[in-house]
């Protein structure tokens, strides 16, 4: 059981990172970048391609993540900003980012061929024994990276002025602009962070999946479902959704059948969307209110204190 849980945690960490890549972009710009999964693929293909021609593994990893980050920014300038310029409130970006996803996947397939290629093993063959279970270091790394990213992001968001400006832009972009915040710069940064997180997720998952130009579909959809389960409004909620989805998928695989992880996520997401349309960890639904019960009652007590 613990073995299953740990394995699910590792899978969920990757889903969570992709979901967070979606969520950070949405948090600042209210745009869902449907090419997020393809950014993960860009990093995987780059690492695979570069290491195949003899570039040191560490350098190809840096290049892969840098490229996915750069593509994230390029998506903003090429496919999102022009659409938002015409219509701030429309859904043009929905179509244009889906278009980017198709272009990236087919161009990658043109360059690398549609079949899977080798990916450096990294830490995949190094096992670690933990509480009587056996896990690869690669999986442990995924869990650790996800935890660090989550904590760092939350600290950054709530404790630094930079993060608070981000919160202000997320809540009221026009007013944030009126106090001097450069909303465009923040949008670019959000797309860069989205690309970075997707790229990191790619490096974490590459040794297991190998390199395939259509991986973006698989992980993009998984990340998107994780996002829907957790809630789109807060990046931390997206990570929660990813972990939950990962654990549930592995549990389903183990206890139902080996194909179950193909369809089980959809059962979960449909159930979640019917019960809590804004996601399990979003503020304002029953579950979140229950989680935040202590804090909320403290807030309610405030007016009594002041006089």
């Amino acid at each position: 059981m613990l073995q299953v849980l740990l394995s699910g945690l590792a899978t969920g960490a990757v889903y969570g990172l992709v979901a967070m890549a979606f969520a950070v972009v949405f948090y600042v710009t209210k745009v869902i970048n449907f090419a997020t999964g393809q950014l993960l693929m860009v990093s995987i293909m780059t690492v695979s391609g570069l290491s195949a021609i003899g570039v040191p593994v560490w350098l190809s990893i840096v290049a892969g993540i840098a490229l996915s980050t750069g593509f994230g920014v390029a998506i903003y300038y090429g496919a999102v900003a022009p659409v938002l310029k015409v219509d701030r409130t429309g859904f043009g970006w929905l179509v244009s980012t889906l278009g980017v996803a198709i272009v990236l996947a087919s161009v990658a397939a043109m360059i690398f061929g549609p079949t899977s290629r080798a990916f450096p093993a990294l830490l995949y063959h190094h096992s670690i024994r933990l509480f009587g279970t056996s896990t690869t270091w690669q999986e442990m790394l995924a869990v650790i990276v996800a935890a660090v990213v989550l904590v760092a992001f939350e600290v950054f968001r709530t404790r630094t002025l930079f993060g608070k400006v981000g919160m202000a832009i997320s809540g009221d972009p026009e007013m944030a602009t009126a106090v001097g915040a450069n909303a465009t710069a923040y949008a670019v940064i959000a797309f860069a962070i989205g690309g970075l997180l997707a790229g990191v997720a790619g490096v974490l998952v590459g040794p297991i999946t190998f390199a395939n130009p259509y991986l973006g579909d698989t992980y993009g959809i998984a990340g998107f479902i994780a996002l829907m389960i957790g809630g789109i409004d807060k990046p931390a909620a997206a990570m929660g959704g990813g972990v939950l989805l990962g654990v549930l998928s592995v549990v389903a695989n183990t206890y139902i059948n080996s194909q179950a992880s193909d369809w089980f996520p959809f059962v979960v997401v449909v159930a979640v969307l019917l019960i809590a349309p804004h996601g399990l960890f979003a503020s304002g639904n029953l579950f979140a209110r229950w989680l935040g019960r202590g804090r909320r009652s403290a807030e309610l007590a405030l007016p009594a204190v002041r006089s």
Binding site: L94, V95, S96, I102, V103, M110, M228, Q259, W263, F266
Partner: protein
């Protein structure tokens, strides 16, 4: 129109007897065109971006195939899959539209993914390899001159789909759908059941997509890879490439998408990349698509040939209102109920956020046939009270009765049936509609079964009659509020604020209200327009219409109203005959600042 249909059928016959190349191109293009037209109905006309059309298409194709293998007749299956998938669409729409448009897009996207997974993973569908579709019987020997039966099948399906969608576009329902898309409160205030209509339109579109699937199943093997989310996007590409919310745009898009791979025969991967790129360029550079470009060129040619770009461009300075030359009556004489109060509110309480009461225990009694002013400083809860009465909001406590019928539990669209209509502080109308079309929305609740009849609108004599009546009544209403006839066909996007305000007033008048709520009818109007509105109010009063007017301009209120109610900070200050209220000490204190 008949000539067009004959020409179409003749060309279908030509293709059906033509070469294999032309036939396969027509079949693919025709199926795509049905999908594109059906998607444009939801995405373009109603503003709901469905990413689930590939899934609905798949359900149509697989439903036909699987039920055929279970022994059903393929022609019986056509209505079965249309209704069945339509119902699935209705359920999907009901579940997802309760939240928001974005949520709808996401839910339909996930629906599409679920369908693909089910088709791939479940044993009875043939998995990734797919399954052989039913064969379509050839024509009997006596009809063999017609050629390929598949081409005819697709040709008729396309005719049916285009017929239904174009019929809706030509019907009185079209302005209503556009209003739902761009001006939902306005539509609801005129009696449109906006939520149900959206679900209905999506269900219809789902049925049409299933029909495309039905025809597609005769083409041979069907497999999950033909129905992935990429297909959903492709359908959206057709619509946007050709021109969203246009008659022929989706057809152009479908023709392009199906012909492109055949004409430019290259490596499928390169093709897909180019395809995506073209699509990206269109949405980024020409959001209007091909039809948008055509329209742009057309307007340039027209504006160059004629120098009389009429008043619309320089409307800022010109008064919109014409001199009153023989105005038609604003409203017909109707027998009003004879109860004492037209509108009663008792103990109304409301808060947006708990603990922050905006309307606090307010009573309002409006005597039948009187003009009742509702005034108070900004933020006193006037607009909220109006929204409560008109059903846009629901009170936390209290009772609202319209002509003695309790309405506080009823949704907004039930009010116009009881004779209660309203205008909004700032008119929000659909930009793409003309002034006249906007006004016709006011007739919606007085025209029976518009939604149903819109499916075969041009074929119904009753619909043609109604269409003429609606147009002429709307035109009369526009003249009756003092707008020159030249405004009739001007697009709402191009008219000044004052004309927009008068347009919504005309829409309210044409709905034959017996109680009319005017929320700041003078806001932003010029002096001549103010005079016009005053005259309209006098005229309506003479006809016996009860009115509630929210206004800031106290002089106007005390000039025109019989009774006045004053609110301050969500509470009732006083209510009574205008003169009495004007003399009230507390009113002078809180409002007049004297």
């Amino acid at each position: 129109m008949i000539a067009v249909a004959i020409a179409y059928l003749a060309s279908v016959g030509g293709v059906a007897n033509g070469g294999y190349f032309a036939q396969s191109l027509f079949v693919t293009g025709g199926v795509f065109a049905v999908l594109a037209v059906s998607l444009d109905l939801v995405a373009g006309v109603t503003g709901l971006y469905s990413l689930g059309h590939a899934g609905l298409f798949a359900l149509g194709a697989y439903g036909t195939t699987l039920l055929y293998h279970a022994g059903w007749n393929i022609f019986v299956l056509l209505p079965v899959v249309i209704v069945g998938v339509g119902l699935i669409g209705a359920i999907l729409g009901t579940l997802s539209l309760r939240v928001s448009g974005l949520y709808f897009a996401i839910m339909t996207f996930i629906f599409s993914l679920v369908v693909t997974v089910v088709l791939t993973d479940f044993p009875f569908t043939g998995g990734l390899n797919g399954i052989a579709g039913p064969p379509l019987p050839s024509f009997p020997a006596s009809l063999s001159f017609l050629g390929s039966s598949l081409v005819w099948c697709v040709g008729l399906v396309l005719l049916l789909a285009v017929g239904v969608v174009w019929s809706i576009r030509a019907s009185a329902m079209y302005p209503v759908l556009l209003a739902i898309r761009d001006a939902e409160p306005f539509a609801a205030a005129n009696g449109v059941r906006t939520a149900a209509t959206k679900v209905g339109v999506f269900a219809l579109s789902a049925g049409l997509a299933a029909m495309a699937g039905w025809a597609f199943s005769f083409t041979g093997y069907i497999s999950p890879s033909q129905f992935t989310w990429t297909m959903s996007v492709n359908i959206l590409v057709m619509v946007i490439f050709g021109g969203i919310n246009t008659r022929v745009g989706p057809l152009i898009g479908a023709a392009f998408v199906s012909a492109f791979p055949v004409v430019v025969s290259i490596d499928p991967l390169v093709q897909e990349a180019i395809f995506g790129l073209i699509f990206l360029l269109v949405i980024v550079l020409f959001p209007g698509g091909v039809m948008g470009l055509v329209g742009w060129f057309w307007r340039r040619i027209v504006s160059r040939s004629s120098t009389t770009r009429h008043h619309v461009t320089d409307a800022a300075g010109e008064p919109a209102v014409t001199a009153p030359i023989e105005r038609p009556a604003r409203i017909r004489e109707v027998s009003w109920p004879s109860d004492e109060y037209a509108l009663e509110c008792e103990g109304i309480r409301f808060s947006y956020i708990r603990g922050n009461t905006v309307v606090d225990d307010v009573d309002l009694r409006v005597r039948r046939g009187t003009v009742h002013g509702l005034i108070g400083p900004n933020g006193s809860g006037k607009s909220t009270l109006v929204n409560l009465i008109s059903g846009a909001l629901r009170p936390d406590a209290g009772e609202i009765r319209v002509s003695s019928v309790r309405v506080d539990g009823l949704p907004a669209h039930r009010r116009p049936g009881l004779g209660l209509l309203r205008t909004f502080q700032t008119a929000v109308l659909a930009d793409e509609l003309s002034v006249r079309e906007s006004v016709t929305i006011g007739l919606y609740h007085r025209t029976p079964r518009v939604a149903l009849r819109s499916l075969i609108w041009p074929l119904l004599p009753s619909a043609r009659r109604d269409h003429r009546r609606i147009r002429s009544e709307a035109g009369e209403a526009i003249r009756s509020v003092g707008l020159a006839e030249s405004w009739n066909e001007a697009r709402v996007a191009d008219v000044p604020h004052g004309v927009e305000q008068l347009t919504q007033l005309a829409a309210a008048c044409v709905g034959e209200p017996n109680i009319l709520i005017l929320d700041e009818p003078l806001a932003g109007l010029s002096a001549s327009e103010v005079a016009e509105v005053t005259e309209i109010i006098d005229d309506l009063r003479a006809k016996g219409v009860t009115m509630v007017i929210v206004e800031h301009q106290t002089q106007f209120i005390f000039g025109v109203c019989d009774d006045v109610t004053v609110l301050a900070a969500g509470k009732l200050v006083t209510s009574g005959p205008a003169e009495q209220v004007r003399q009230n000490e507390r009113v002078r204190e809180v409002y007049l600042g004297q």
